[in-house]
Symmetry: C2
Subunit: 454 residues, 2 copies
């Protein structure tokens, strides 16, 4: 968390102006204009450039400024930009970013390149141990640049210690207290320190039981915990409960955003890394793969319809209602699955509540299914003047709405029970159920009543 | 943001244990067990109870504890719980929660009830002015309980001021500096104050240009700004740039979560307030409304198919491929719209980039559409032994994937251009396009080539 509040919110005009200068190849002026912006806004501008504009600009930005910009860039543009920087430039730049950001960037590099860059870093000794943690764990998100006090210190001693040793420590909202073995013993907030008597002992004022996370804890669990307790930072401990780092809320906001994005993308069969800003070629194969999965799924619906081809040949009006049956079941199913997946992500729905949720959604499906089914039945009769068609279409709509809602509850819960992500491709799984079973109900009933339909 | 770190993370067992005691009607023991938990975890337990269990428990929880629990509850369970509390109990409880939480709760009450509760509050004078701001603005999210320093004060004076006047102020990470008219002039962090010389003047050490938000600014814009600059709090100012409050990151995390939920729900046609934990009756009508919208949309597809009923009567095999054509276009469209909506929410895609994104997605759609179209064509020919059927199905797949992707870009961008939420019902809008046009392409081509199909 920066102390750098300078530069009032960029008028969007400032952004536009810089982009315009760049587009006109007035690089020098663009650099000057860029330098007047907050680093967060400089990052925004850089992210919107294409590779050739960046090649023109990046080598002319001072190292310190470049370090700040990297800290504020989102993952996708940052990955491309880092790839464009010479390794002997990247090392010194990474020396100047926060350690957790340096670790993130090194993790994104190919291993050989990461090793080369690390070798050129002055802070290699401090950063290297952090690289051992996987990127999506608390250990991978933490910074090792924190302040630890000791129980026997007074408030006055602690303040002096802060003044002398940690003028730049960014994690100074909470001050953690450790013993000689560096084990986490308690916490005081900087605010507490400031409002306490100078002679008071840290040991007496600290809160002894601290909510902490283990280095290996998943980043989403970590984010969920910081959110639940409304903290701005959480201490990270190892197996011996030694304090090894701190994760702060600004890093975890990114995790929360990424988690929501991942759910939405997975439900639609998109890779987490997919982006409208990515090179076209890298998107083509994953998207094609998804269409192939959709094709397999739709082929099952086609095979089901094929079973009843003879029935349709006798009463072609049935084909008219096929999209209605499939679509209503699919929409009901997508609604339920969206609710279930999001509730699971937010920790509001556990497996043990499955039967309660299933009963609730089933009751809703039957109530609404009856209403919509009767309506479809009446409309079908009114349109085609055939009572049997109305009955068959209405009944199929009811059955398929129930199918969709059941699939909407059971598909994500089953994925979770199998320890898979509930959001995984679940959109297409649910519509496969509603297509295949919807056509089975509709065309099956129609076959039974074919004498009254044809 | 609390300083209350006490109580180590609740083992999930502690939660289970309390729930078990309650289910066995051992209310006294349950209360004792509950009191050992962190308020965030007490809130978690309370949220999982049904109304009758809460009626048993809530009146027996001390006011201070109840206040803490309310602060940690999510919006939906909180709304029900507040409704169950007697107005003369609620007032004193709200006196003990943070002012922004009190305002949120009062906003959720029916106006007459809010007035009655406010009348019973000791802090009514401080809370009432905050009620003027709408709930989803920075003004509605801010607390007025902040610390303001003055330029001419020394560090030592400021620390004394903090000690005497604001021992409980929760917003002490950043200290804002104001002039005599209470206008925002600058900011120092508590960390800066602590590490500076006691004689230093605030005016010399403060950052003069502060990123701030106006009271009327939308809460999502506010969240986006705090996230962009990695702050833990933002000052809120009025028309005269007077400092009137502070919004903190923990409040805005909830906004970010809610924003992601809203996008997912709206794309699936769910109300923002929908929840698996809501009473069944309150979900039934909105969900029915959505099914009616889906029915209208699907009816358009049915009308399109109806135009070609005669063609299907001649070649019933066409009906077999209808779900494949519609499904592939729909899936491609849902992928694109998911990407576009999420990118717009995250501020990564602006209207002016529309044509670039359209070209990118169009190129992808054509490339993948050709591959999948040829594949479907070959499969259709191999299955039904009819070349014309393969050609018609393959061409319709290509055209419909392109349709889906175009709709996936244009529907959300058009909604945005109309100043509507891009996520608004865009799922069903896109599949309406792909159903109606998909059937038009497929059955239209089939009609042209009917001599080779029948």
């Amino acid at each position: 968390m920066p102390d750098d509040f300078s530069d009032i919110t960029p008028a969007d005009e400032a952004l536009e102006e810089t982009l315009r200068l760049l587009h006109e190849d007035r690089t020098g002026e663009a650099l000057t204009q860029l330098a007047t912006l907050h680093p967060a806004d400089q990052a925004e501008v850089i992210a919107q450039l294409d590779a050739s504009q960046r090649t023109m600009l990046l080598p002319r930005i001072p190292q310190e400024a470049l370090a700040q910009i990297l800290a504020y860039l989102n993952e996708e543009p940052r990955r491309s930009i880092v790839a464009e920087l010479a390794p002997d430039l990247l090392g010194p730049v990474l020396d100047q970013v926060e350690r957790d950001v340096a670790v993130d960037i090194l993790h994104e590099l190919p291993p050989e390149r990461a090793t080369a860059v690390l070798a050129g870093m002055a802070t290699a000794a401090a950063v290297a141990p952090l690289l051992a943690h996987t990127d999506d764990s608390a250990g991978g998100r933490m910074t090792s640049d924190f302040v630890a006090l000791q129980q026997e210190w007074t408030v006055d001693q602690s303040l002096s210690y802060l003044r002398q040793n940690h003028p730049q420590a960014e994690q100074a909202f909470y001050l953690y207290v450790t013993d000689e073995q560096e084990r986490l013993e308690g916490v005081v907030s900087l605010r507490q320190l400031v409002v306490s008597e100078p002679e008071a002992r840290i040991g007496e004022m600290m809160t002894p039981e601290v909510v902490s996370v283990h280095t290996t804890e998943d980043q989403e669990e970590t984010a969920r915990r910081i959110e639940r307790y409304d903290f701005v930072a959480l201490p990270v401990v190892d197996d011996e409960r030694r304090l090894v780092g701190v994760v702060s809320v600004d890093d975890l906001i990114d995790v929360i955003e990424a988690e929501a994005t991942e759910d939405m993308y997975r439900m639609a069969g998109l890779a987490e890394s997919e982006s409208l800003l990515r090179p076209l070629a890298s998107s083509a194969l994953p998207r094609l793969g998804w269409l192939l999965i959709a094709l397999v799924s739709m082929s099952m619906a086609a095979i089901m319809v094929n079973v009843f081809e003879e029935t349709i040949a006798k009463a072609a009006a049935l084909a008219v209602f096929m999209p209605v049956i499939a679509g209503l079941g699919g929409n009901a199913g997508i609604q339920t699955i969206t609710l279930v997946v999001r509730s699971m992500t937010l920790g509001e729905l556990e497996l043990r509540q499955a039967s309660r949720v299933l009963r609730r959604e089933l009751a809703l499906a039957i109530a609404n299914g009856v209403v919509i089914g009767v309506l479809v039945g009446i409309l079908a009769f009114a349109w085609k003047g055939n009572v049997a068609l109305g009955v068959v279409a209405g009944a199929a709509v009811l059955l398929n709405i129930v199918t969709g809602v059941m699939a909407g509850v059971l598909v994500p819960l089953s994925l979770r029970a199998l320890r898979l992500d509930p959001a995984l491709a679940s959109g297409v799984l649910v519509t496969t159920f509603t297509d295949v079973l919807g056509f089975f109900f509709f065309l099956g009933l129609a076959t039974l009543m074919i004498d009254r339909l044809a």
